[in-house]
Symmetry: C2
Subunit: 637 residues, 2 copies
Amino acid sequence: MRRINPKRVLVGEPLDTARLGETLLPKRLALPIFCSDPLSSVAYATEEILLILALGGVTLLHLTWYAAAAIVFLLVVVVASYRQTCYAYPGGGGAYVVSSENLGQTAALTAASALLVDYVLTVAVSVVSGVSAITSAVPSLADHEVLLSVAFVVLLTVMNLRGVRESGRVFAVPTYGFVLVIYVMFAVAAVRMATGTTIRAESADLPIHAHGSYAGLALVLLAMRAFASGCTALTGVEAISNGVPAFQKPKSRNAANTLAMMGLLSVTMFMGITVLALVYKVHVAASPTDLGLPPDTATSTALAQIGRATFGSWHFLFYLLQAVTAGVLVLAANTAFNGFPMLASILAKDKYAPRQLYNRGDRLVYSNGVVLLALAAIGLIIAFDAELTRLIQLYILGVFVSFTLSQAGMVRHWGKELASPATPAGERIHIHRRRAINAIGAVLTALVLVIVLITKFTHGAWLVVIAMPLLFLGMKGVRRHYDQVARQVAVAPEAQPRMPARHHVVVLVASVHAPTLKALGYAQGLRPTSLTALTAAADEDAVRLREAWEAHDLGLPLKILHSPYREVVSPIVDHVQSMAAEDPGAVVSVVIPEYIVGHWWEQPLHNQNAFRLKARLLFTPGVAVIDVPYLLESARG
Amino acid sequence: MRRINPKRVLVGEPLDTARLGETLLPKRLALPIFCSDPLSSVAYATEEILLILALGGVTLLHLTWYAAAAIVFLLVVVVASYRQTCYAYPGGGGAYVVSSENLGQTAALTAASALLVDYVLTVAVSVVSGVSAITSAVPSLADHEVLLSVAFVVLLTVMNLRGVRESGRVFAVPTYGFVLVIYVMFAVAAVRMATGTTIRAESADLPIHAHGSYAGLALVLLAMRAFASGCTALTGVEAISNGVPAFQKPKSRNAANTLAMMGLLSVTMFMGITVLALVYKVHVAASPTDLGLPPDTATSTALAQIGRATFGSWHFLFYLLQAVTAGVLVLAANTAFNGFPMLASILAKDKYAPRQLYNRGDRLVYSNGVVLLALAAIGLIIAFDAELTRLIQLYILGVFVSFTLSQAGMVRHWGKELASPATPAGERIHIHRRRAINAIGAVLTALVLVIVLITKFTHGAWLVVIAMPLLFLGMKGVRRHYDQVARQVAVAPEAQPRMPARHHVVVLVASVHAPTLKALGYAQGLRPTSLTALTAAADEDAVRLREAWEAHDLGLPLKILHSPYREVVSPIVDHVQSMAAEDPGAVVSVVIPEYIVGHWWEQPLHNQNAFRLKARLLFTPGVAVIDVPYLLESARG
């Protein structure tokens, strides 16, 4: 019976729970695993700012400086805030956990909804952006962006089903490679410009067609929208604070330091790319026609333009840049493949999600969560036709909801510590400082949340505004259901099993053959109070069956239900139902002789009624269903 | 528990088998039901001839005369042939039955494959053609042909699931309306031309771009291809001979006369339309560009052009023509909705098709066959993008395979009658005549079959050449399987049920709650040889469960299987398997306490392992599976 199992080939042999400890991460592996998302977002954050400001034409591009500066400031604040969380929650301090402990159930579920939406978008946005890095280098692939994106999501899914540790190694190369190539690019740019070269982007001379003239409030809103779009640079900071338990000891310090490292890398790369984009005069727009180009021109990303301009004739370095950019972006989605299933498992443990999401699979990863995330992301990519700028509109809302709730929860957390008499006096000064940091974080992220909501609502964020409450209500519903069921099945400590007073057994008969005889023998072996052979048939079939039955002299009468509509299920269910109703102290067992075939394609040729029959009988009070299988040769292995 | 059943609203209340007799058809209803296919095909047969000849340019259109004349001759021969079948097979003489009785299994299954393919194509071609009648009148719908076609198939499916009789009435109006409006059109055309009006089609002055110059063999082949395309006019003749039992008495005479009536109507309408097409100089081509028009011009069918030219400013009559044409074409598909499920049922009775196709549904129609046909037709329509000319290429091949086999079978049938000493001498002269008619039919249809195969193979008919043998092999395979199973389950007349020597019962335990206690009570009631409470759990869950179990003092030890991979199904199946293997004379019953919930959406929240567990246990020799359901409140109605 041992067959080759395609699942094993794909995801590897099962791992023992005892090996869970082995998968703890050193910092050098934790950085690429948890930070590929925030690090890689610098690949598109600058471009998203430019795209929004381009709506107002070339003259507004100088506002990029202000937006970028605000984002860097925000990033520093958020990193500082989350470092506090790493220390306060060594067991993992995701927004859900922090809100749940400090702000109550409603806040926690709101954060969870935001995070779930956010993880799905992380996968979609990162993968699509990675694919556009590829198509910037190989324009002939531009028509296959949806297909490529879906393929990468599938690849990530398979990798993640294989387990955490192996993934880490795969992720290190592109992440560190990306950081390295970006810094090399800065160095080359600096040397070339210092030696008097004027570098210009390929799009520097293209005009930008403005979509209106922005002044006053409209200008402020546009600038805020540009800022909100650039805030994608902040996504994924949550991952580290959530993943503290996966770090080697000392967990909290290692996590906090990794977070700081990530912040430093992000800020420098983001600023560098923004400076070069402005110096090189990179012009981008939502549509090629806005740049005076034919509508189906394949355009390059801002980062690709910067790379091409910087490296000039060193084509090798340009292609390397695109390769590592694509690599780190596709892998950034991995942050979500770590976070989503872990959050789903916590939610399932708290009975807010189906129990299937609770257990780790046999490779020690939460397999169901991984698959669920992949399906949702693929759905989004296909629905949005792999268009980055449209997906980005949905992205930041969830992120800032969870930021705000998480920081607010931390403020409350420190407040409780201060209120506790157990807190040593020497600690209090530090706790005051930590609370202040988190308070600043909470206020600032709340402010950004409002800006994001105002500027992005009509551009697609309304979808998230609908999706989050639906998830919220769904989770509440699941919890209510589990609570109801638990109440219904609870038993008193002294409760004992009760044998039914009488046992009526009904054997369903379709024909006089070996499976029927086997079922009859089984039923007689149960020594029931009563034994009935039962069938439902239309006239001619009934006559034939009765003749065969009597010819066989089985010593048991056959009860034939008249089935005028040639329907088998309903008459049998009705009959069994009335038997059960007539003798309430008894149990009625229905024995179904079932053909078991060995090939899936043989299945539709048999047992057409068995499934529907069982489904209906199980709903009848006082009835049990017994399958007596008869293994045909093909099923005997 | 009585809920509104959407199936009942859609297809009506169940009918009693005794009412089957009521659905016998008088000729005036049988004609529209069985003949809407051959009658309606005149709506496109002429156009398909013109389309092929147009490949050679305007100069070849005069060949239409010859093709049309050949088709009329063939139609007369085929109608005469099938009239013989109506008399010889009052029980229904479809090609499958006739071949089966006279030519053996291989010929019969070949005919069946051809007919099945053919029925599916009848639905697809008729519906698509009906939709193009609509878009000829309302060009703005031209972009939605696939959607409209699928909608009509769905409509027909629902109508047919409601039953035969009601359908008949719905079908009478468009069929008779179509015949009437066509004859009115002929009258109007005759009067207007007789009074000196010169009528010209809208396309009369358009040039036709020839796709090559045809001469010699190429010309002959093109003419033959045009003839083959026009042979669509013959499709559906089979339906009446197949449906003889549905006629009122005298069944055979009524059927034969209906067939003759149909032949008369078809021939006159086809000739009339062809004459008008040539007199009006209707120019059609596969692509608007061949007529010197822009590529996305919406063009009208040939019949629509004839109607528009004939009726001139009487727009009402033109729209009426298009409406009844669309009506009769969409309903022509109904011929297949009668024939396909009936043939599938005969095949299922002969064990060449899955048993589900044998039984009539509760509205006295073969519901499963109806649904299967609809799905196949919808698949074809979508795959061929609702393009009539591409679908037509696949159409005629199956028709002529079944014609040829059917007529050849009839020749053999009459031969057997002549050889039988029971045949009265006075009859012999008539039988000789009948045999001659069928022999001419067989030879001619075989000839046409060869022409169709040669001229259409590369234009799409190869798909049918592949599909038919696959169906053939599939049917053989199904029969072989059923035969094998019947052999395996057959029992000797003296065989009696045997009680198992011992009965081991295993109750699966997930938690100590009411469903578990109920299952334990049930199991104790079986008074088994041995009773085991069994669970599979990872370490911490195992400890918790054992504590609860012991606290409850159930007087029965709990066996916990160590499940290092947190997988429940395999350890339990392995354990049960070894129990069964240890005691071969015994049977092992596995009792599964199952939560029963009342809403479908609650289902995924429970019983995640029960289904997989049952599926695997049923494959284990010596094991039976007992579901002891526990109805949660939502399932108690």
